[in-house]
Symmetry: C2
Subunit: 121 residues, 2 copies
């Protein structure tokens, strides 16, 4: 029950759900997600931490960046069902399409460039 509530609470914020959808094509680093949603880095980090704690995503650190991806096959059944539910319910929505479109543009940029841009001095 406790684990299940961690899952449902993780899914109860629209920005977190959008992050799950954005991660469908493949892993992204924090600064790319920050750029995609126009939120503060600390806010994005918090959201990712909540999704991670729920087991919905996993992280990997390489060089200077932390990459997040959707949970892999060995994830618990409840987690996989949650991800399927999100995908089936929202993959074809306008919001997901708009995010995907903007993400495409961000993916074409240099990663270091994206990270530097996040700094709004």
């Amino acid at each position: 029950m406790r684990e299940f509530m961690t899952l449902t609470k993780a899914l109860s914020d629209p920005n977190r759900v959008r992050m799950l959808l954005a991660l469908r094509p493949g892993e992204l680093c924090v600064c790319q997600i920050t750029e995609l949603f126009g939120l503060a880095t600390s806010t994005v980090s918090k959201h990712l931490s909540i999704l991670n704690q729920a087991g919905l995503i996993r992280s990997r650190k390489t060089e200077r960046w932390v990459y997040y991806r959707l949970a892999d096959k060995p994830a618990p059944v409840a987690v996989r069902e949650a991800l399927d539910w999100v995908r089936k319910s929202l993959a074809k929505t306008d919001e997901a399409a708009a995010d995907a479109k903007r993400l495409k543009r961000i993916m074409k940029m240099d990663l270091a460039e994206v990270c530097r841009r996040r700094c709004r001095c």
Copy 2:
């Protein structure tokens, strides 16, 4: 997206999830649910209204009482998947078993009796 978030928010409170599980065997009236969870009537009513608005449950009024039941077959796919997810993830948990046990006892009581008992004067 908006509808989906209504669903996930509805599922993000443990008492609401317990209510969904309690409704699995069949419909219950508000005072039975109130007795089952030991919450104020107004609180239970609010929770049921949120579940109803999300399409997860439906209501029916007969004589003096309002009965709530899980959403029927013609419910949207996302709703049916949500209910399946809850059932598969939690039906066999200790919490669900404990609630079911207490519910059994309440079901043996006279309905009017249960409603009157709720009044803690």
